[in-house]
Amino acid sequence: MADGKNQSLFKGRPIKILLAKPGIDGHDRGILVLAKAFRDAGMEVLYAGLLPTPEEVVETAVNEDVDVIALSLLNGAHMTVFKKVADFLKEKNINDISVVGGGTIPDPDKSKLEEMGITGNFGPGTTLSVIIDHVTKRAAEARELKML
């Protein structure tokens, strides 16, 4: 966490992030690497395990009051399933949890996901530092809203 402002935001309580593969998808290589990387970067990491539904992901995120939900899918269903996560959050009027995504996501889908508030949408070959920086930035946004 290079940003000085972020440092103070997370003082006393590190970034709390929920990693999830909503939908029916067992490709967990990437998400397991990220879990370790986020932990090494000092974050508090929760992993929802395999096969949670979008509802379950949102419920866990709210109960645990995480800063960020990080979604991963490599099964091509991101446009439907990621959207459901964003929709459930909206339904519950939750705006202080940021959502980031990643997986096998073709370029044209990325802007559509951004419009739903799901950012990052990192594809294969993205370096961990790029992902960690992005998550930190989005966590800071969530944390500021939590402090209001």
Binding site: R29, G125, T127, L128
Partner: protein, 573 residues
């Protein structure tokens, strides 16, 4: 079951180590008198050379790196025990490897067209990819399946879908591989039912169903029930198919997914063969004669980007399987000792960046598979880090195999790298490291216990994280990713799955349900439940009956969910 020797692995390791080379005076002499002065003079920057298995590689190998008895005991000749150089006496001169492209997307109709397209361009065997809901035993109209229909493969909800996939394709003339695991018994039953409808006798249907559930818990993570329940269903399928479908290979023991999940080459080798040994023991336990069923087990390996390591892995796999089947499991027939395998090039090695580079990666990996003596091969398409492959991309991938086969001369002679000091040393090394894993796994109570404890999964996760860290540090290179990267990546055109596939499938399933005899369906499912509850009963005939009544995949899977329950994996991270 005959008692197996618990100390077998330990003794084996001792034997190998006893045969390993000691000092290498010629290498030491050369290094001191020629190499080091040269390195000093040319100011060589020392660098670490290791492969995926974390094995350090020297700059040179010579005869001093070979084992005692290298040629006669460990190498032998093709078509002869221990089959290091190949399982057939004439290898590709007798028959080229089967070019088998893994295909499946959208609706059964979409997939039927793709299969016919591939057949028309010279593909010699079919291979079906199923979508995620099918792999997990959900129908297309399940709420859980929303957005996933046809995305990762073809959707199959009922027998009608299977009929449509193979419409106009004579099951008596093709061989078909189906990548399906948790619901393998159901899809096999559907294939049998389609064959019956086409009037093809069951002893004529040829192919492979993956049905390797152990590697699902290890790597691909597509399960429905707890391991023991799936293993029982697979046992029933083994017994049924041994008796009824002599050309149907009922388990394809798969290292592919173990590797893709992040393992090294040696972990892929060790964990896959350990799974294989488990199935061999399971067959013996079910009362089958090892020489009747072992020949029906086939393997499926990954070919990744470290060329020599992959070839060595495949050669070591053949030797280990032959040796252990003979020595530990008492196989008498050479066919039981021959490790036959399919290979797929590595999906993980493909990059989203500069996607055309993937054609080169796939070519190198396909060459390794061929030089490693594969029986069949799938080559990945260059656009697969983006999406399922387009027709154009899949054709280049198929042509890659045809160029290797028909232009390059690579298939002209058998095991052309046999006898290379480096190749033999590396084969020996991977073999020895695999035996160490077998011993470790045995100490944990066997592979099933090791998986249930999460040991294997954690080993893989560790390797995968280390590899990622090395990439981040620039210690390993992916061209276009962490080196030679370009700022602006142009999007490529790629295959798009229409959301209409989902609607069409749901509508079709509605019609199937309307047309079937509900009472017969209910009865078939009830009978299946009774059969599942009795460990001694073989469920296969009941599953076949249920699919023939057009009971759906999910309905059949739900009977099992009720009887066996579900599964939550141990914590890996």
């Amino acid at each position: 079951m005959d008692k197996v020797d618990g100390d077998y692995w330990k003794k084996k390791i001792e034997k190998l180590q006893n045969d390993n080379p000691g000092n290498n005076p010629e290498y030491s002499r050369w290094k001191e008198s020629t190499l080091e002065p040269w390195n000093k003079k040319t100011n060589l920057q020392e660098k670490e050379y290791i492969n995926s298995s974390d094995i350090s590689i020297k700059e040179l190998y010579n005869s001093g790196d070979l084992r005692k008895g290298q040629e006669e005991t460990y190498l032998g000749s093709p078509g002869e025990y221990p089959f290091t150089r190949g399982i057939y006496p004439n290898m590709y001169r007798g028959r080229p490897w089967t070019m088998r492209m893994f295909s499946g997307f959208g609706t059964p109709g979409d997939t039927n067209s793709r299969l016919k397209y591939l057949i028309s361009h010279g593909e010699s065997g079919l291979s079906i990819a199923f979508d995620m809901p099918t792999l997990y035993g959900y129908d297309c109209d399940s709420k859980r399946a929303d957005g996933e229909i046809g995305r990762c493969g073809v959707n199959v909800s009922s027998l009608r879908d299977m009929e449509d996939i193979f419409d106009g394709i004579d099951l008596g003339k093709v061989s078909t591989s189906m990548t399906i695991n948790a619901p393998a018994a159901v899809l096999t039953a559907m294939y049998i039912a389609v064959a019956k409808k086409q009037g093809v006798p069951l002893d004529k249907i040829a192919g492979t169903v993956q049905a390797d559930i152990l590697k699902e818990y290890i790597a691909q993570k597509e399960w429905i029930y707890p391991p023991e329940a799936h293993l029982r269903l697979i046992r029933d399928m083994m017994v049924y198919c041994t008796e009824n479908t002599p050309k149907w290979n009922y388990i394809s023991i798969s290292g592919y997914h173990i590797r893709e999940a992040g393992s090294s080459a040696v972990q892929e080798l060790a964990f896959t063969l350990a799974d294989g040994f488990y199935y061999a023991e399971m067959g013996k336990k079910a009362g089958l004669d090892i020489d009747k069923f072992a020949q029906r087990l086939s393997f499926f390996f990954n070919s990744s980007i470290n060329f020599f390591e992959e070839i060595a892995k495949l050669r070591a796999a053949r030797r280990i399987w032959a040796t252990v089947m003979k020595e530990r499991y008492g196989a008498k027939s050479e066919r039981s000792m021959m490790l036959r395998f399919h290979t797929q090039t590595s999906g993980y090695s493909l990059t989203w960046q500069q996607p055309l580079n993937n054609i080169i990666r796939t070519t190198i990996e396909a060459m390794a598979a061929v030089l490693g003596g594969t029986q069949s091969l799938h080559t990945n398409s260059y656009d697969e880090a983006w999406a399922l492959p387009s027709e154009e991309a899949v054709k280049i991938a198929l042509r890659t195999q045809q160029i290797i086969d028909e232009e390059s001369g690579m298939a002209d002679t058998i095991d052309p790298l046999g006898g290379s000091y480096y190749m033999e040393w590396l084969t020996n090394k991977l073999e020895e490291e695999a035996y160490k894993y077998f011993d470790e796994i045995e100490k944990m109570g066997g592979i099933l216990e090791a998986v249930k404890k999460g040991y294997i999964q954690r080993e893989i996760a560790k390797t995968s994280y280390r590899r990622q860290t090395r990439l981040e540090e620039g210690k390993e290179v992916m061209v276009g990713v962490n080196k030679h990267a370009e700022e602006e990546e142009q999007p490529i055109s790629y295959l798009k799955i229409s959301p209409k596939a989902q609607d069409d499938q749901i509508e079709k399933l509605r019609k199937v349900k309307k047309a079937r005899n509900e009472n017969e369906v209910k009865k078939a499912l009830k009978d299946l439940e009774k059969a599942m509850l009795d460990e001694e009963v073989n469920v296969m005939p009941y599953i076949i009956k249920a699919v023939e009544e057009y009971a759906t995949l999910e309905e059949i899977s739900n009977v099992g969910r009720k009887v066996f329950g579900g599964w939550k994996e141990p914590v890996i991270v």
